[in-house]
């Protein structure tokens, strides 16, 4: 899967645990190495869980700082990445609650920030019609995701934008895997139907 393939390869568990223990003793280099490994996932999560125009960099920085300050509370039972994403999700929820904003504001059509969806299409030399339909599909996907219930938005974003597997999502949201599957099925069903409608 394309989006999952963009996820960075995780560290070996033993190697990661060593870094965590060193960081818990105050080793700045170890802490930096840990963050470097997982920060991209935090960026993606914050960007997709916060509304358009929200300060994503600030949210990422605050997430990283919160994690560093509570490092001693990380027991090492779950993955460090999942723990970090859980902090990011909670921070985004806090910000949304505080500002009472609606997440996933759909972007204007023709948004320059978006990657060209044509580049990742399997067909070569797409026709102008196909290009237009692919762009429309991206737009429909954004809009439909924005209309999902909050929990479905979260599982969709963590699965497709961050690249977590079901267990990782369950860990990050502190729910069981069955709950994740249920929300994800409903979300994908809706979003896929909308995308296929725009790009049959």
């Amino acid at each position: 899967m394309a989006s999952v393939a963009r996820r960075e390869m995780p560290l070996e568990p033993e190697e990661e645990l060593e870094l965590v223990e060193s960081a818990q003793r105050g080793d700045r280099d170890a802490a930096g190495a840990l963050l470097e490994r997982h920060e991209l996932a935090v960026f993606r999560a914050c960007r997709r869980l916060l509304p358009q125009g929200e300060d994503v960099e600030g949210a990422v920085q605050e997430t990283l700082l919160r994690a560093l300050r509570s490092l001693t509370r990380f027991s090492g039972q779950g993955s460090f990445g999942g723990w970090l994403i859980a902090i990011a999700v909670n921070l985004c929820r806090d910000r949304l609650r505080r500002r009472r904003l609606v997440p996933f504001q759909p972007l204007e059509v023709g948004d320059d920030d978006a990657a060209d969806p044509i580049a990742v299409l399997s067909s070569s030399e797409p026709s102008p019609e196909r290009v237009a339909m692919a762009r429309q599909a991206v737009e429909r996907l954004r809009r439909e995701v924005a209309r999902l219930p909050r929990r479905q938005q979260e599982v969709f974003a963590l699965r497709f934008f961050v690249g977590l597997d079901l267990a990782g999502i369950a860990e990050a949201l502190a729910v069981d895997v069955g709950t994740v599957k249920t929300h994800l099925h409903r979300a994908v069903q809706r979003v896929r139907a909308a995308v296929e409608e725009a790009n049959p």
């Binding site: 394309a2 996907l141 995701v145 597997d165």
Partner: protein
């Protein structure tokens, strides 16, 4: 290859990354239509994801977090313990210090002495009585030299 294309439910399972039945998985691996259907959805997802932050941005954000952490929460443990111990000592001594201040009423020593002198001067018997009492308890020494204390 089976001619039947994936159902919507099977396609959703494939998108989520869940395990498909053997027949469905085999079909997906060989059917251009179903693969294109799956890839179109994933292409839309990637389009919606947008660009990742560049290396400079990532480094800046990480370093800011690390610097803030270094400045506030990496004091040696003994400093925190020392501060806590000092706080405990101060708190435990506080009641004693307070009672010391409370149990010592302020008074003017000169005024008291003046008052005592005044009382004594108004009642000369008190001086006599005091001499008698002393003599009753401890006889006065023999003034002509015959007596002896020893």
């Amino acid at each position: 290859m089976s001619i039947e294309h994936l159902t919507d439910d099977e396609m959703d399972l494939a998108l989520i990354g869940e395990e498909l039945s053997a027949g469905a998985a085999e079909h997906l691996s060989s059917c251009l239509v179903c693969r294109r259907r799956r890839d179109s959805f994933l292409a839309a997802v990637d389009g919606a994801l947008g660009e990742d932050p560049d290396e400079a941005t990532r480094t800046r954000v990480r370093e800011q977090a690390l610097t803030a952490w270094s400045g506030t929460s990496r004091k040696p443990h003994w400093v925190r313990w020392l501060a806590a111990a000092a706080a405990v000592v101060v708190l435990s001594l506080l009641p004693l210090v307070r009672s010391e201040f409370v149990s010592r009423p302020e008074f003017n020593t000169d005024a008291v002495l003046t008052e005592v002198d005044d009382i004594l001067s108004r009642d000369p018997l008190s001086a006599v009585a005091s001499e008698e009492v002393v003599e009753a308890i401890v006889p006065a020494p023999d003034v002509d030299g015959e007596g002896s204390w020893s």
